[in-house]
Amino acid sequence: MRSWVYAGMLLFVLLATLPLEIVLRTRVYSRLRRFGLVLVCVAPPFVLWDVLATRAGQWSFDLSQTSGVTVAGLPLEELAFFVVVPIASVMTLEAVRNVRGWTVGDEPVDRP
């Protein structure tokens, strides 16, 4: 591990959202099949976008601030980003729904 700058930010997001699962019962980690299907649909297009934009030189990464491990030209942390951000997004949606009692659209009776 060369540097924790990027990995630390991802850990912060995971730790900051973890209480939602326990206190607000977002039940994302306990519904891994559903979350896995979300990743299958979301990660490929965004990773592809990232790989192509990196190859095209639209942006680059300072590898000295990452683990130094790269996959398809992306730092390992950048790939983990496409797992961590969907986790945080879905947990936030479930948390707001549970606190406010608003519908999200997967209910048998939909009230927008």
């Binding site: 700058v5 990027y6 930010m9 912060f12 997001v13 900051a16 019962r25 039940r27 519904r31 099949r33 559903r34 979350f35 299907l37 979300v38 649909c41 979301v42 297009p45 965004f46 976008w49 934009a53 095209a56 030189g57 639209q58 942006w59 680059s60 990464f61 300072d62 601030q65 990452t66 496409f82 951000v85 969907p86 945080a88 997004s89 879905v90 936030t92 949606l93 948390a95 707001v96 729904r97 549970n98 406010r100 009692g101 608003w102 519908t103 999200v104 659209g105 997967d106 209910e107 048998p108 009776v109 939909d110 009230r111 927008p112």
Partner: protein, 129 residues
Amino acid sequence: MTHTTVSLVAVLATVVLDLWVLRTRLLARRVYWVSYAIVLFFQLLTNEWLTSRGVFRYDPDAILGWRIGHAPVEDFLFGFALVTWSMCFWVWWGRRGVQAGPFDGTGMLRRGGARRSADDAAATRPPAG
């Protein structure tokens, strides 16, 4: 194509995905906008952490150069797309019956997972007095 162009196309694709492809219509829901506002606040913090340290470096020719803190505005369009796609597919798979619910008799989400025995007792107990 530049980061700006691709990001704008992604925003457009996100709107089309939500309203017409998956028909999740999250963009028309309060729950979505409140959730997105919370995620955006944290994106401001985390993206600033990375961009201010130069973990990401951008080709000046690929972006407009408009920045929020150190982060190019294009990053927020990218973030909007990623966050919204995640939420839309979560709702879509739930709607297809993958680990959805549990819901109560009125079709609303039953809070806290399973109904507690105390709730059942309260529901069946005759009113006091």
